[in-house]
Amino acid sequence: MRVGVLALQGDVREHTRALERLGVSAPQVRLPEDLVNLDALVIPGGESTAIARLLEVSGLREDLAIRLHEGLPAFGTCAGLILLAEQILDGRSDQWSFACLDVTVRRNGYGRQTASFEAMVQLHDSVVVPGVFIRAPRITKVGADVEVLATHDHGDGPHAVLVKQGMVWGCSFHPELTEDLTIHRMFVESVEALR
């Protein structure tokens, strides 16, 4: 199985390592030709505005939009979630996204860097995984077709922090920064089930 990692900017190395630890080939994607023969794509953490600009100038924006709407499975963390989300609050006035995950996210929705935090995040079946939230986007609205896979209580009740719609997954935090492979394994297994 080949799960590409969008390698324009951000914590590409950590996602690559997590995928390779699961025995998955993880080629880097920088140009449109790198999209061939992929079973899925990971969009890493980083700065969403910088990645968006690099997607435009590399020519990847159009090609990737087509692949995503054709059903290419995708998993975005932090900036990657923003790039997949249907609606973005507190972004740049011209901020665009692939809009293939029906959630609303608020950029830096938990605050600036001084408010960045770690917490154990609640998965289904009372499984918990470590969550690292760095200037993280906060999911403020979830569409009817979106499944909530994990929640976190930031002091105002549990809210979604890991979601999926069909084969598009988005995560507010950074599972790739920890040694815990649970979430990457869940995504990889769901891609494997399609084959």
Partner: protein, 294 residues
Amino acid sequence: MVQEKIATAQVKRGLADMLRGGVIMDVVNPEQAKIAEDAGAVAVMALERVPSDIRRDGGVARMSDPQMIREIQASVTIPVMAKARIGHFAEAQILQALDVDYIDESEVLTPADEANHIDKWPFTVPFVCGATNLGEALRRIAEGACLIRSKGEAGTGNIVEAVRHLRMIRQQIAQIQAADAGEIYAMAKNLAAPLDLVREIAATGKLPVPLFCAGGISTPADASLVMQMGAEAVFVGSGIFKSSDPELMAKAIVEATAHFNNAEIVAKVSTGLGAAMKGFETSTLEQRFAERGW
């Protein structure tokens, strides 16, 4: 509510990880900050004068006016960094109160303490510090720095010092890796670095925090050069807003940093940029910023 931990090493180093592969640009006002964000900068460094102007003007260079930092924070969505003088923990406390995203304890400003850098551990905001060699980098990490950058020679537009510093750090890491267990003690002593950090380098072959490049980057080719030499992101100070077409130069350096290994793309973005900043030959400098700090 689930227990949350702020200001952990993971959270502080994590922001630096998110900046990898990107360009952090010096800006002196909200207009420049917007140009930087439009061009795809991953963060901006808010300061009153870019290093080449500090070099030209002389005098004491201090932390920037909080008003200016606030205006820049309000104008962009990307992280905003700001500089404090070496050892000036009160300036750092002010920058933390302003909620900046990273503090650069910077040799570009006039040092406030000749013996001590800031104790960076008690701060919630993470720190980046400059280094010219591995010992210096490890001393800063021991003090709590979460990101190391080469010092280079800021404000010169000349990449030669940054190249020297990156090569030095890389060579010293290779020497530690080649050493046997009995040689580590003398190496730590010679580097004037903590033994546990030297041992960690022997085991991992890299710094425990990201390594970025700063000081003298003024063209897309410069960015490609230092990225190929192992820098994980670049700081550009005077190189953008002292060039003849800052918007074009900013975009070009962002693309060259992302595609540093693709000479065709670097060639394309290097074409028709106009004049890069004029720059200085470093052997003629009266003041070497890189000699500040230890």
